[in-house]
């Protein structure tokens, strides 16, 4: 038995990696590409680990993140973006995230105070705790979570999910003191805290500034949601109007529906296109029967029989304002009046910071901070979250909390706070129309949601998690931005044009001087050119990809040769599909003695050298099993077959039966895949017996 450890791939790595747009857009810069790929392979636990490594409270984001990653997702240039948030939830739920415990121990003596237990505050506490600091979170309310608790309704973020995270945090050793309002930062310092993170959020609703705003039956959205989330059931009557177009307005309107209000309207002064709310929220609100009135704004409220009578004026869009959206301009003489039982104002919130804090306040009542250090004008006092940015997203707050923890650590160690170096990430361009034309459009698979009746009956969570098959199919839509092929040794490239000719997406090209370029913006990382390059100078960019098949093969063959059950069959199985280790191969390994699976991420990673090596190491039969029609990339089956044909010719020249090597592609057999593999194993068994007998005869 030849035990020479020979690498099939002799080319060096490409160290140059490119950060994908999803990761750049995510405020936490999570390795989205990696966990989506793991989900596509059914490796849920590992996907969950990747998610956990980038986000302190991944389950919360899994439910309610505003997903800037999806807006940046380049799959959207083909059909629709990958449903990243829903995939994250799938990975966490199936991966058992709620069971994970995070450990931390106190290694520092400096105590840090966090004022406010919203997402920014909790994130800061989490990261400071992991750095070894004793942390205390002060929360004015009786319940922990800030906007997560009092702002976002239960049908979007179930309370259990939030509680699991908070429990985890306290088990880490973070002290949370509820019902404790901080009125003076001097007091906090007097109590012995060395640094403070101010993250009081933005809970103060903005006023519309119209007559009658304080009348009976007029309530602001933030207050309404707070009451609801703290367990009260406000009586809203039969007709409710919500003024505003953001998520708070949607939350308020949809909560009203769930409280049984039969007629709920949303009044917005611009059109649907300009609404800042998540389009999904708007869509679901419409499904739930909420009426939307666009280009409408209240100008006056009168109280009639204890209920608000609202006069609105119609608007038209004029020139853009500072937000870049066209300014609504009232149309003279278009006033009309409606009676409601409750008018809810949800046109924005602002922070409320006590003067006694002595921190500089700026525009929109937000706390002013140094953008690099997050420090306020007071030494040792840092701020972040909605209190600094105004109402923003949960993930932004988490990122701010993480940054603040690092900056507080800098401060306490007297480190010079360096500005983060200009991002070395190469920015990815858009897909060219020619490339888009080559990509199969499949359409986005949305996670299942409750029916309208089920939804509006109460506050049960609207969205459910994917099942495994749907999650895998959705995850495979990812274009693997930045993972593409690169010519790692241009001096050895012979400009043979093989990569140009074999690429199904027409990505590589020859320039006027004859040099070959593979633009990373366009490459789909299918791997075909990597295996076909006659000079062996192309590699995919991710360091982990290189040598992976070699290592797996060595490992498998190392174990296999120690086991005596014969004949040994080696199968290269694509992880993404039905032959993946998550499903079929698992069955196989147990059932059929002597079958050893080498998992590969797509059959294009299997090169002729790998196939031959398996035979050299004693395999009596070798097969390659791939996704065929279901492969997320084009032509992979064709090239795999070319390579198999070539190795078959060499086997014949070596005196081995070419039938010992086969390719199985899903989608073509009408049989059960196990049946086809059974037949193959039987055939190989036959060859093996013949050769054993021949040996006997020779002796």
């Amino acid at each position: 038995m030849n035990t020479v450890a020979v690498r099939v791939r002799r080319t060096p790595l490409s160290e140059h990696t490119v950060t994908p747009p999803c990761q750049v857009a995510c405020p936490l810069h999570m390795d989205i590409r990696e966990y989506v790929d793991l989900a596509a392979q059914g490796r849920i636990m590992e996907a969950m680990q990747v998610i956990r490594s980038g986000n302190p409270f991944p389950s919360i984001c899994a439910y309610i993140c505003a997903h800037p990653c999806e807006e940046a997702c380049r799959r959207g240039q083909v059909d629709k973006p990958v449903a990243i948030r829903a995939l994250k939830r799938f990975a966490l739920e199936f991966g058992g995230d709620r069971m994970i415990e995070v450990e931390a121990e106190t290694t520092r003596s400096e105590r840090v105070a966090v004022v406010g237990s919203g997402p920014a505050g909790l994130a800061c506490a989490y990261y400071l705790r992991k750095l070894g600091y004793p942390v205390t979170v002060f929360e004015a309310h009786s319940e922990v979570g800030g906007m997560l608790r009092v702002g976002i309704p239960r049908y979007r973020l179930p309370r259990e999910v939030l509680d699991v995270e908070i429990t985890r945090l306290t088990k880490m050793g973070v002290e949370i003191r509820t019902g404790t309002r901080v009125v003076s930062l001097d007091l906090v310092f007097d109590l012995g805290y060395r640094a403070v993170f101010l993250t009081v959020g933005a809970h103060q609703s903005l006023r519309m500034g119209i007559e009658g705003e304080d009348g009976a039956g007029v309530v602001d959205g933030a207050t309404l949601l707070r009451e609801l989330n703290l367990g009260l059931t406000p009586a809203l009557g039969e007709r409710v109007a919500v003024v505003g177009g953001g998520n708070v307005a949607m939350d308020a309107a949809r909560s009203a529906v769930r409280l049984g209000v039969p007629q709920v309207s949303v009044l917005y002064r611009r059109t649907r296109a300009e609404m800042p709310a998540d389009p999904r929220e708007v869509e679901q609100a419409l499904e739930e029967g909420i009426e939307f009135q666009y280009l409408v704004a209240p100008v006056r409220v009168r109280t009639r029989e204890g209920r608000p009578e609202v006069t609105c004026v119609r608007m038209e869009l004029g020139e853009p304002d500072q937000s870049g959206r066209r300014r609504p301009v009232p149309i003279a003489g278009s006033e009309f009046t409606e009676r409601y039982d409750t008018l809810v104002t949800a046109i924005g919130q602002a922070p409320q910071v006590p003067d006694d804090f002595h921190v500089r306040i700026g525009r929109g009542s937000t706390i002013q901070v140094d953008p690099v250090t997050l420090s306020t004008n007071r030494a040792g006092v840092f701020a972040g979250g909605d209190a600094v940015t105004g109402p923003s997203t949960v993930v932004e707050a988490l990122a701010a909390g993480r940054t603040a923890a690092g900056r507080i650590d800098d401060y306490l160690n007297h480190r010079y706070p360096l500005a983060p170096s200009a991002s070395e990430a190469e920015w990815m361009g858009d897909l060219l129309p020619e490339t888009v034309a080559t990509i199969r459009t499949t359409g986005r698979l949305e996670p299942p949601v409750l029916s309208r009746e089920e939804r509006t009956a109460g506050f049960a969570p609207v969205e459910m998690a994917y099942d495994c098959q749907t999650a895998t199919n959705e995850a495979r839509r990812c274009l693997r931005c930045g993972l593409g092929a690169a010519i790692v040794a241009p001096d050895r490239c012979a400009s043979c044009l093989t990569c140009v000719r074999v690429c199904p997406y027409h990505v590589p090209y020859a320039d006027a001087e004859g040099a070959i370029h593979i633009p990373f913006d366009q490459c789909q990382a299918c791997g075909i050119c990597v295996g076909e390059c006659p000079a062996g100078v192309i590699a995919l960019r991710k360091a982990g990809e290189l040598g992976q098949v070699d290592e797996e093969l060595d490992h498998v063959l190392g174990s296999a040769t120690r086991v005596t059950s014969k004949p040994m069959i080696v199968g290269f199985c694509c992880q993404y599909g039905v032959y993946g280790t998550g499903t079929l191969a698992g069955l196989w390994r147990g059932v059929k003695a002597g079958v050893w699976i080498v998992p590969v991420r797509c059959v294009t990673k299997v090169e002729t050298g790998h196939l031959l090596r398996a035979f050299e190491m004693g395999a009596e039969g070798v097969f390659v099993a791939g996704c065929g029609e279901q492969c997320a990339r084009e032509n992979t089956g064709h090239w795999m077959r070319q390579r198999v044909a070539k190795v078959k010719r060499v086997l014949a020249q070596l005196g081995l039966q070419p039938e010992r090597l086969e390719a199985f592609m899903w989608g073509e057999n009408t049989h059960d895949p196990t049946e086809v593999l059974d037949e193959f194993a039987a055939r190989v068994g036959g060859f093996y017996l013949d050769s054993v007998l021949l040996q006997e005869v020779k002796r």
């Binding site: 093989t498 000079a535 020249q653």
Partner: protein, 231 residues
């Protein structure tokens, strides 16, 4: 470019049988482009040879691998001086020129050809290479609309066509178009049929008597392609 095809494995095995340490040497230019002898093919051949040895019982060889940018230039061959120490035979996957250059430079080292150098040609699509040029040294493509009758006509005649074509294809194979019919159509398209109507006298085979030489530099007696001494 030069197109070659790897020899059958059994031929290579037979060639190296008497030796113990064999270097498999690839070429980074022509044989890489036609997928016969580049770095990847060298590696694959190595694997196949190792496997063949394991199956046979005639002793083990130790193989090493290397690939040069080209084997037909002495400067590139210099990089091999260390590599060949201790090696007792080389299988070169370069074209015949490379094999010979290698043999000349390393006169004490047996050098074996790993490919059959076939022709000067081009890829008409991935994986399919066709002969295009016979290196006759007397190019007459000006008169044939850019289609070579020496390579593409199986008889290589200059006053074509013969009476053999059927359905526009050569008598030799239904897959091979009659070059002279192609030439006729091309000249017709270019408005140059007169060229085909001319009588072409028998070829001058003097340029092909072997071995040929072209001298680019001044100072030496320059020979033109017809063997005449030119000024």
């Amino acid at each position: 470019m030069i197109v070659a095809e790897q020899k059958p494995l059994e031929d290579i095995i037979r060639m190296v049988r008497p030796y113990k340490k064999v270097l498999l040497l690839g070429c980074g230019t022509c044989t890489t482009v036609c997928n016969a002898g580049g770095e990847t093919e060298v590696a694959f051949l190595h694997d196949a040879l190792r496997m063949a040895e394991a199956r046979a019982a005639d002793g083990r060889r130790e193989y090493s691998e290397a690939t040069l940018k080209r084997q037909c230039d002495p400067e590139f061959l210099e990089h091999l001086t260390e590599r060949v120490e201790g090696v007792d035979a080389v299988v070169s996957l370069a074209c015949g020129t490379g094999v010979q250059a290698l043999a000349e430079r390393f006169a004490d080292l047996p050098v074996f050809p790993g490919v059959n150098t076939s022709f000067i040609g081009m890829a008409v699509e991935w994986g399919v290479w066709d002969e295009r040029c016979a290196a006759c040294g007397d190019c007459r493509l000006e008169d044939t609309g850019g289609i070579c009758p020496i390579t593409r006509c199986t008889k290589g005649i200059l006053n074509g066509p013969c009476a053999g074509p059927k359905n526009g294809h050569c008598e030799v194979s239904p897959d091979m178009e009659c070059a002279w019919l192609l030439i006729y159509r091309r000249l017709e398209r270019l408005g140059q049929l007169e060229r085909m109507r001319r009588y072409y006298p028998p070829r001058n085979f003097r340029p092909i008597s072997r071995p040929r030489r072209i001298v680019g530099k001044a100072g030496l007696e320059a020979r033109g392609s017809h063997g005449d001494v030119t000024a």
